[in-house]
């Protein structure tokens, strides 16, 4: 087929604005899937994705359609719908020439609408604005049209009105894709270059890379080289997804498809990397590659210490399919052996934890998520710190920097006050604010990522009664007055509970954790102090009172069997305890303290 008749595009939207349903409807309209085969939201293939209405692993589907008697190929490239995966979004968008921007007719523009649109504009994509769900009784089409006009500068006649539910407006949308989105550029460079925008692991075929051929061609049995990872392979399978897989001999310039090359190690197939030919390599890789760096770290420990090996196995399996996941063995006195695990963000962390639990049946305890700090030592050396327990002594540091984010917080204007108050409380630095329409604003702050990781989402929700939408991008590192806070039980540091916290917040966090522990740890044989300390200074203290009574007042003949049962129950209870120094702590205390944040 002629390159001129290919259209590569993505759909971008705020969560729940109907991206996946719209994709399904386009598939159905173009005949890629029979109505009977339609499972709701076909592109979201993982159960968890369908459940949460988010896309984690990507898909690319090739659709054929006829317009004005000409055959066209439409490649629909899916994007993940969450800020944690914004780099992956940008790589998917880099494989496209256009994007459909979906906005809910009742909700209007939200934070992710803006964040995603900017990512698309960075790639110079042609944008087709679409107002979806116009069939809803509370749809307010004129208002959303005016938002699209005023916030993004779209013209009214550009905007397509549709309902993915009823199918209204779908033919117009497909027509717009063909007419407005340009065909992939015919590169003057004849050397083969293909952009990897996602990869997944198949137990039988190894890594499957999703690619867009930017120049040249890829053939079956080509000897290829990956320019970043510098690995080389032979292509054993090429094809496209319609969404059924169709094998092909060749992928031409402009085409989107998959490549298999018996690759066992997913870390060799980096999202954003360029595939070229081993014997006739391109001189320059496709621009925009960034190594994926975890933003959030947490220690994951099996609740039952003897399941460490199983946890390792689970993480290894998840890693096969998730190049962004990284982990190394960590040992904690309190929690035993586990893994220091790096995630792209909180959602990524949540997804991994849920999958470990659900797919592998392992209960885990996660320590407080930590961001990556930058420390300059007095020796001049600069270190990255991903765990409170790796924090050097205060005396040996010149400064500590922490990552900040730049926010898009969209709220009805009556919540400006509460949102600003929250952001100030979270050490935010006010940047700017703009009106989306007369009733809604977009508020920009720079806020430390560690505060977002702590409890910002929950607080934002309660401060705005759920009306806020929130998105962010990393804006860089800034110096902060941070300290390491330890929790001590009977004078002994509990490593799993240490946190890095801003000096001004240490007292409050310390008090909350100490109170919570006091509530959860049972009486011991001796009086047991619980302390929160910064350096050598104790900032909060509580005391677990000593056990004063554990005896049966009465014990005559028949009571012996009852008494034995009681003792056996108590003994069983002790087995579930972890010894922290001389203090017996029920292992679920860690779970409770770490899980509840420290509300």
């Amino acid at each position: 087929m002629n390159n001129k008749n290919i259209r590569n595009f993505s759909i971008i939207a705020h969560i729940d604005h109907g991206k996946s349903t719209l994709a399904d409807r386009i598939l159905e309209y173009t005949g890629a899937v029979d109505k009977r085969e339609m499972k709701d939201q076909l592109l979201d293939s993982m159960d968890l994705e369908r459940e949460r209405g988010i896309t984690i692993k990507l898909n690319a589907v090739k659709l054929n359609t006829t317009y004005e008697k000409e055959e066209y190929t439409l490649n629909l490239i899916d994007t993940p719908g969450h800020v944690d995966f914004s780099y992956e979004v940008s790589r998917s968008l880099a494989a496209c020439e256009g994007a459909i921007l979906v906005v809910d007719a009742a909700q209007g523009i939200e934070a992710q609408t803006i964040a995603n649109l900017y990512l698309a504009l960075e790639q110079n994509l042609t944008i087709i604005p679409v107002i979806n769900k116009i069939d809803l009784p509370n749809a307010n089409v004129p208002k959303v049209i005016s938002e699209l006009k005023s916030v993004f500068g779209f013209k009214e006649q550009e905007i397509i009105l549709c309902s993915a539910k009823t199918g209204e407006g779908i033919p117009e949308l497909v027509e717009a894709i063909i007419k407005r989105i340009p065909a992939p550029e015919d590169s003057k460079d004849t050397k083969t270059r293909a952009l990897i925008f996602d990869s997944k692991y198949d137990a039988y075929r190894g890594v499957i890379a999703l690619v867009k051929v930017a120049s040249g061609t890829l053939h079956l049995k080509d000897h290829i080289k990956l320019m970043q990872s510098n690995a080389d392979f032979e292509i054993v399978e090429l094809g496209v997804s319609t969404p059924k897989e169709v094998k092909k001999e060749v992928l031409e310039v402009g085409e989107v498809g998959f490549v298999c090359a018996s690759i066992k190690d997913i870390s060799k197939v980096l999202v954003g990397d360029t595939i070229t030919l081993f014997d006739d390599p391109a001189t320059e890789a496709i621009k925009g590659y960034k190594p994926m760096r975890p933003m959030v770290y947490s220690g994951l420990f099996p609740v039952e210490p003897n399941r460490f090996e199983e946890l390792k196995e689970a993480l290894n399996k998840l890693k096969l399919n998730d190049a962004a996941l990284s982990f190394e063995v960590e040992s904690s006195e309190a929690l035993g052996f586990g893994f220091r695990t790096g995630f792209l963000g909180l959602l990524h962390m949540d997804v991994i934890m849920t999958r470990i639990k659900r797919e592998f049946g392992i209960d885990i305890i996660a320590t407080h998520p930590s961001v990556v700090y930058e420390v300059k030592l007095t020796s001049g050396e600069i270190m990255k710190i991903d765990s409170p327990n790796k924090m050097p002594d205060k005396g040996s540091m010149e400064w500590i920097k922490e990552p900040f984010i730049y926010t898009n917080i969209i709220v009805p204007s009556e919540y400006i006050g509460p949102v600003m108050e929250l952001c100030q409380n979270k050490r935010g630095i006010y940047k700017s604010m703009e009106y989306i329409d007369e009733a809604r604003v977009n508020i920009h702050y720079n806020i430390p990522l560690s505060e977002i990781v702590y409890d910002f989402f929950d607080k934002l929700k309660s401060y705005t009664k759920g009306y806020a939408s929130f998105d962010y991008e990393i804006s860089g590192y800034q110096e902060s007055d941070l300290v390491k806070m330890n929790i001590l039980l009977n004078g002994k540091v509990v490593d799993a509970l240490s946190i890095i916290v801003h000096k001004d917040f240490a007292y409050d966090r310390g008090r909350k954790m100490v109170n919570k522990l006091k509530e959860l740890i049972p009486r011991q044989m001796f009086e047991t102090p619980i302390q929160a300390s910064v350096g050598s200074k104790v900032i909060a203290r509580e005391t677990i009172r000593a056990m004063r009574k554990n005896v049966l007042a009465k014990c005559y003949g028949g009571d012996i069997s009852r008494k034995r049962k009681l003792l056996e129950r108590q003994k069983e209870g002790k087995k579930k305890m972890k010894m922290i120094g001389s203090v017996e702590v029920p292992s679920d205390v860690f779970l409770a303290v770490l899980k509840e944040g420290d509300e």
Partner: protein, 363 residues
């Protein structure tokens, strides 16, 4: 195995039900007493092997709730036992039931120890317990018992009742002591599930307060020359309860009657708690053979209730094992949980009130 020398007989009938009691009991009903005694005789015939009995304990329920006629019938059943000359024969009684004819009868039939459930003289505590008592009455009744000839009387005292202050406890103790009992049993309230207080979800008092009450009791009774010989029991010299020591020494005994338990030929058994089942002749509800390890563990669980603790030589004679080889005694001595002295190992008296914590480490 040593010969069995102790018998417990349970009489489940009561004239009123106390709010905290989880012993096996029913409201007194004349129609059930004689059939019950018939079954009791049958159960004794099934099991008793003719040993001379040195301690006999009739408990309940409220055995004193039986009429004179019924008591005579009971004693016809008891006549089945061969009794040693120096038998300790205890009968449990309620203050309200004490009257001359009935207790002369008991005395004449060989009862030489009475255990009287007074529990308290404080009206608020009594309201909570759903019991009645009166100090003046008590004094009169005890005088009567002395006149009849009873020389060994125990009174029960309950404490740790919600709302009870140290002052209230002291007053109770003072009055109890005025009765000059030979033996005092003191019980901290246990809130059991299937009792009125349990059903009302009453919360136990603070541990600190409970312990303080316990210490108050120990101090006062020590001053009055009572020997603290078991967690909850105090006695004048020479008046330790031989029957109860059978339990705490982990020795075998017969138990008869509904809800009773026994320990015969290495088997611990429990009788049915259902009076209807018992009246049908279905006596035993569960049996378990004690292994050597079970027995050794029970020796500790029960034996450490005694303040004198466990005699190492006696332990060896009984099990042909050194106690310190079987159980981690030494580290606990080192920690100060246990004390070794003159051939005995015992719980550090300061830690008696948390002895379960220590037992858990042992067994």
């Amino acid at each position: 195995m040593k010969k069995i020398k102790s018998v417990y007989i349970h009489i489940p009938f009561c004239n009123s039900i106390c709010s905290y009691c989880d012993f096996c009991k029913v409201m007194y009903n004349h129609d059930w007493v004689l059939p019950y005694l018939e079954r009791l005789a049958q159960e004794i015939d099934n099991v008793y092997m003719g040993e001379a009995i040195e301690t006999l304990y009739i408990g309940g329920g409220t055995p004193s709730s039986l009429s004179i006629f019924e008591l005579k019938a009971l004693f016809e059943v008891i006549a089945k036992f061969k009794m040693s000359d120096k038998i300790e024969f205890t009968f449990e009684a309620n203050l309200n039931d004490i009257e001359e004819e009935k207790f002369r009868l008991l005395y004449g039939l060989g009862v030489n120890r009475l255990s009287i459930g007074i529990e308290s003289f404080d009206s608020e505590k009594l309201d909570f317990m759903k019991r009645e008592s009166n100090f003046k009455e008590a004094k009169k009744k005890i005088a009567l018992l002395r006149k009849i000839g009873f020389k060994n009387i125990n009174v029960d005292l309950m404490y740790a009742i919600p709302g009870e202050t140290i002052g209230v406890l002291r007053k109770d103790l003072k009055k109890m002591l005025k009765l000059k009992p030979e033996h005092i049993s003191t019980y901290s309230l246990i809130i059991e599930k299937n009792t009125l207080v349990g059903l009302n979800k009453i919360k136990p008092i603070e541990q600190e307060h409970d312990l303080k009450m316990y210490e108050t009791i120990r101090k006062i009774l020590k001053k009055k020359k009572y020997v603290h010989y078991e967690v909850s029991n105090f006695a004048k010299k020479g008046f330790l309860s031989k029957h109860n020591l059978t339990y705490w020494n982990n020795e075998e005994y017969y138990g008869f009657g509904v809800g009773a338990s026994g320990f015969v030929e290495a088997i611990r058994y429990e009788n049915t708690k259902s009076l209807t089942e018992y009246l049908k002749g279905n006596f035993i509800s569960s049996k378990s053979l004690m292994s050597k390890v079970d027995n050794m563990e029970n020796e500790l669980i029960l034996g450490f209730r005694k303040l004198e603790g466990i005699n190492l030589e006696h332990f060896f004679d009984k099990f042909e094992e050194n106690m310190q080889n079987i159980f981690p005694i030494k580290p606990l001595i080192k920690r100060g949980d246990l004390i070794y002295k003159d051939g005995y190992v015992y719980i550090n008296p300061k830690k008696l009130y948390i002895m379960n914590e220590i037992l858990i480490k042992l067994i």
